[in-house]
Amino acid sequence: MYKKLALAIAFSPRMEALIAEARKLIQIFEGELILIHVGTKTPELEAQLSEVLSRHCGDLRPIKTIWKEGKPAKTILKTCKEEGVDLLVLGALKKEGLLTYYLGSIARKIIRKSTCDVLTLIDPRIQTTDFEKVVINGTQLDFTPEVIRRSLLFCQAVHTQQVSILNEIKMYGLLMGNASEGTEDEASFTRRRLVQEEITYVEEILSELNPGDLKINIKVTGGKWASELAKYCEKISADLLIVGDDLNLTIFDRLFPHDLEELLSSLPCNLLLFKK
């Protein structure tokens, strides 16, 4: 699925954990890893890095490290493009949704503008993370069938135990408010129908895929998908949330932050973002 992974590194305490995580991913996907650091290359840093690399990637071919100077977000994105990276791995802080190693605005820029998929890890571990519980955004969007397809491939590769696909009923309050013009039976029929429509939507997508041994739950909620996903991930202590991003975000999205932006401002768990 991913042939070339890039890991953006800064020389922080969590670098080793991130390298361990990236190492595990290239093993799973049988891919190649490159490291990107935006900053000045010094002999001390080089020595520090090679020590960490020898611990985790000693058995591999030498890992390519790209040292570049410039604006962090722009440089990382440009390098990913030049190198033909298909998955960029970043570390991020859970609380403010700020990247650990860069300022929040830089993290957002990377995630928003990246043309390749981005995996954001909020709690990288040297023992590495198992993606046992994965939540997928199944909200009805043009990109969703593709997101579900790719998610299943990812989950199969990392041996996920429990996959939840979460769907949102759009404008549920308004629809149910309208349904109150009918009798109690009619209103509860409408409620059931709204839920069933979402389940059918996901089932139809799944019927064309091969989920193999994966255990898949479909969950339906009312409300805005980003906040519902965040709530659900926290509730089941998910290890990974997968969402798709096919939006061309504009100035309006910054003025009136919504969905993806809101999700980024407070990450509920690790986040894998598929790009179209």
């Binding site: 759009k170 549920y172 309208n178 009312g222 409300g223 919504h258």
Partner: protein, 416 residues
Amino acid sequence: METLSHHEVINLLLQLALMLIMARLFAELARKLKQPAVVGEIIAGIIMGPTVLGMAFPELFESLFETNNQTNIALDGFVQISIVLLLFIAGIEVDLQVVWSQGKNALKIGLTSMIIPILSGFVLAYAFPEFLGVNINDRIIASTFFGLSISITALAVIARILMDLDLFKTKTGLLIIAGTIIVDVVGWIIFSVILSLSDSGKTGLGVWPTIGLTLFFTVFMLTIGKGLINKVLPWTNKNLAWPGGLISLSLAICFIAASFTEYIGIHAIFGAFIIGVALGDSEHLTEKAKEILHHFINNIFAPIFFVSIGLKVNFIEGFDPMVVGIVVIVGFFTKYFGAYLGGRFAGFKRNTAMVIGFGLSARGSMDIILALIALEYGLVSESLFIGLVILALLSSIVSGPLMSWAEKLKLSNKSE
């Protein structure tokens, strides 16, 4: 504090009870005929008001609605609160997310569907103000108002039609919803501006400061205001009774915003609408809470308001077939063509554009509120008001069947 007398209290309670009973009765009848409740509620008002009851049983009508002045003032208080709450819930219905997801196409459809009726309505009213019954002393404002009033749509009515036709979740359905939301937001902004500029609502600020203030309030509420709401709501959800705390506080915020806009010279309803948008857009106002607000406002305050329309106006005395005919024809066709053209601009096939056109033509509560405020401000005559109410009712009745018809055309095209 002055209070109502024994008789006045009895009178007020009877008025409210009768209004709710009649509204329910006719809303049920409308439901049986697959029509929106608002159609039934307006008819209930016409029957209870001077038009029918006042003609057939003048003494009964008088004893119910015309003996106690104090009671009528108290009832008017209910009606005013109902209007504010209806706008509040209309604001909560606005889902900016749907607008963003539909992007430019929704903008093209929404704006074209407004521009054409506004321009046509303005030209018509400006050329024939006396015939149509717009205030000649406030000609520009009143003519703009007429254009605006035939350009507005009703989100709740459209949502219901789309649900009935099973179109809500389709691309066309969401586009119609997004277009309607744009019309709603832009429409209420324009309406607030022209109201503050009209003779009776003059704030003394002048055109540009009024526009500036209105836009400032809108942007402020949707950015910083929403940010504040996002800070306060999680706290109330966690620490106060649910949904009690949320409902009483959101209504309180609504009344504060409404009184604030009224204070700065923009009508109260605008504050209620915008605060509704800001609250509704907050992820912390759950859909369950929205549903409860809907039930509570739609089934208590909305019927009181719609019935009160019929109590205020004599639909037979003020009925002018020419005016009503012209308002209905011009209103329906300009809105339809506006939305249709918008659909075509957005690159949709003719059939889909037709569905969009009929969809956005559905009017209802919003149109009636707009018309009533204009009547109270003396911008329009009673006969024009009646025309606008009839346009709202007729369009909400015919839009569904016409959309269904246009949708079938699309199907037959597909199979060819």
